[in-house]
Amino acid sequence: MTKPLLEVADLKTQFNLEQGVIRAVNGVSFTVDEGSVLGIVGESGCGKSVTALSIMRLVEPPGRVTSGKALFHDGGSARDLLALPPSALEDILGNRISMIFQDPMTSLNPVLTVGYQIMEPLRVHRRLSRREARDEAARLLRRVGIPGARERLDDYPHQFSGGMRQRVMIAMAVACKPKLLIADEPTTALDVTIQAQILNLLRELKRELGTSVVIITHDLGVIAQIADRVAVMYAGRMVEEAPVGEIFGTPRHPYTRALVASIPRLNEWHERLPTIEGTPPRPRDERVGCAFEPRCPYRIPRCADERPSLVELSAGHACACWVAGEDAQGAR
């Protein structure tokens, strides 16, 4: 039986700007099970990254988490990450939960050796001695596939290539054997052959350490490669959530269906690609009804007036769409 590791409920994060309030995340709920990979997919501005930053308590003014819970189950107790005092948070972040970002250069300190940076969490959280931490750092670098690991501990981040830097980041992130790893576009800046290597590495580490992963990306290909469950976001909300096979095999939300259909695939030869008309909404545009309604080929009058909420259409498959909901009821 699967056990929940992280339960996020009704998360809302907004940015109070001079031009007005931007509701970047507008009532998002999801669960990450132990040892599983949840993919969060969506286009730019859909709120997927802000969702991750909110859980990690990394949203800075003018941004603010205005509501929600993020229950993290660890060692028999559940703690709400959004309500913890900073001191308790320090014990969890970088230790039980860690994060990797798209651009390793922005999260690695350029004036410290990578060895120092990997050793730091080991000394703080795992209380290893200098020598133990150095041995462990070398072991970690070797594990993530960096040749000459021990010698490279004394190198600085700029002395590594992009793919190697991402490996260093992953080594840092898994140093304390976290229960949860949050990866925000971890392979987007990488070439495709390197991307395949990094995805493989993440899969292996997940298997070895039993770490759960939340992977955030705009790339449906990456999602298909690594996720167990997938949440699709549009305009600050979740529009569909299902096992990965169903998202690609039997997507229910018109947005997911169009998104999956519009990607060019190898060895499928089309004259034209199916498209989604229009452009993704700007973060400030707020609608009463469904945010996808103006672009949706299946819209009915109700869609403009009333927002559909996420409801389970079949076991483990939830979707926020009036039309898909009616179809599902009709099928019963």
Binding site: E43, S44, S161, G163, M164, D191, V192, T193, I194, Q195, A196, Q197, L199, N200, H218, D219, L220, G221, V222, I223, A224, Q225, A227, V244, G245, F248, A258, L259, V260, S262, I263, P264, R265, L266, N267, W269, H270, E271, R272, L273, P274, T275, I276, E277, T279, P280, R282
Partner: protein, 321 residues
């Protein structure tokens, strides 16, 4: 038989670089290394490869925005390799470029009308009135509202900005469009719109494309033929279907195998290539791919493989292909 519009013959572009800042050893970095390719009238040649393979440098060298170091460029039967600026101007009308970052490539202080009409002004084409009409037609053709002519680039979404860039590139009725990662900065749902638009425009204006992308699936959708580059060299060239379904060069095979397919039942396994692209100035001897190649033997270290025929219209540069 369609005619060859653009041909590069052993085209080479190198840059002097230092191995380290402040007095490091000077080396020559050959970004584009003896590349011979051709684009036929009204057809698309795709160019794929990872960062640093020289595909963008090749585009800029073909446009003569970089001076070629060696080899030659033939456009519509004319050798343009050493033409001076003045002689180049009529050639430039016929080859235009679409860039990756639409916003960075549009002047933010100009209106859409000025941006799209600028090439017409530079090349002294038509009267003011004719130019305005042409701009409106172009905007409508690429799917924008002609009423938007007085707005500025920042007021448009990424996809619309790319449409503006495409309208501008078409203003002079070019015969060749060089598209350098034209959809890489766009959202997935917008990508498909722009790719469809480019294909429609090709038929309508009988355009030839040199279509450059790191994404082999996107390139295959757009192109009849594909060239694969690695460290400045073309390692394989052939019909898109051949390249995608029966690649012959181990690098192309790895590139195709590494594509994360949007299909959870087909996950990329361990078989991908190992290691990383070598640093600038550290090009391996012989076959440049040998440091990452699963088939590499001692011969690959000493003997550089040349492109040779491996099938109908299909060439690969590997001793074992």
């Amino acid at each position: 038989m369609t005619e060859t519009l653009l041909q590069t013959i052993e085209l080479t572009k190198s840059f002097p670089v230092r191995r380290a800042p402040f007095g490091g050893k000077r080396v020559k970095h050959v970004a584009v290394d003896r590349v011979s390719l051709s684009v036929r009238e009204g057809e698309t040649l795709g160019l794929v490869g990872e960062s640093g393979c020289g595909k963008s440098t090749l585009a800029l060298t073909v446009m003569r925005l970089y001076e070629p170091t060696g080899g030659s460029i033939v456009f519509a039967g004319q050798d343009i390799t050493r033409l001076d600026e003045r002689a180049l101007k009529p050639v430039r009308r016929q080859m235009q470029m679409v860039f990756q970052d639409p916003f960075a490539s549009l002047d933010p202080r100009l209106t859409v009308e000025e941006i799209v009409g600028e090439p017409l002004v530079i090349h002294k084409t038509g009267t003011r009135k004719e130019r305005a009409a042409a701009v409106e037609r172009l905007l409508e053709r690429v799917g924008l509202d002609a009423g938007d002519v007085h707005r500025y680039p920042a007021e448009f979404s990424g996809g619309q900005q790319q449409r503006i860039g495409i309208a501008r590139s078409l203003a002079l009725r070019p015969r060749l469009l060089i598209c350098d990662e034209p959809v890489s900065a766009l959202d997935v749902s917008v990508q498909a719109q722009i790719l469809n638009l480019l294909r429609d425009l090709q038929d309508e204006f009988r355009l030839a494309y040199l279509f450059i992308s790191h994404n082999i699936a996107v390139t295959a959708f757009m192109s009849r033929r594909i060239g694969v580059m690695y460290l400045g060299r073309v390692v394989e060239v052939g019909a898109s279907k051949q390249i995608v379904s029966a690649p012959r060069h181990p690098y192309t095979q790895a590139l195709v195998a590494a594509v994360p397919e949007p299909d959870p039942s087909r996950r990329v396994d361990e078989s991908g290539v190992r290691g990383d692209v070598p640093d600038i100035g550290l090009r391996p001897s012989g076959c440049a791919f040998r440091t990452r190649c699963p088939l590499a033997e001692s011969r690959c270290e000493t003997e550089e493989p040349q492109l040779r025929r491996v099938g109908e219209g299909h060439e690969a540069a590997c001793h074992f292909a």
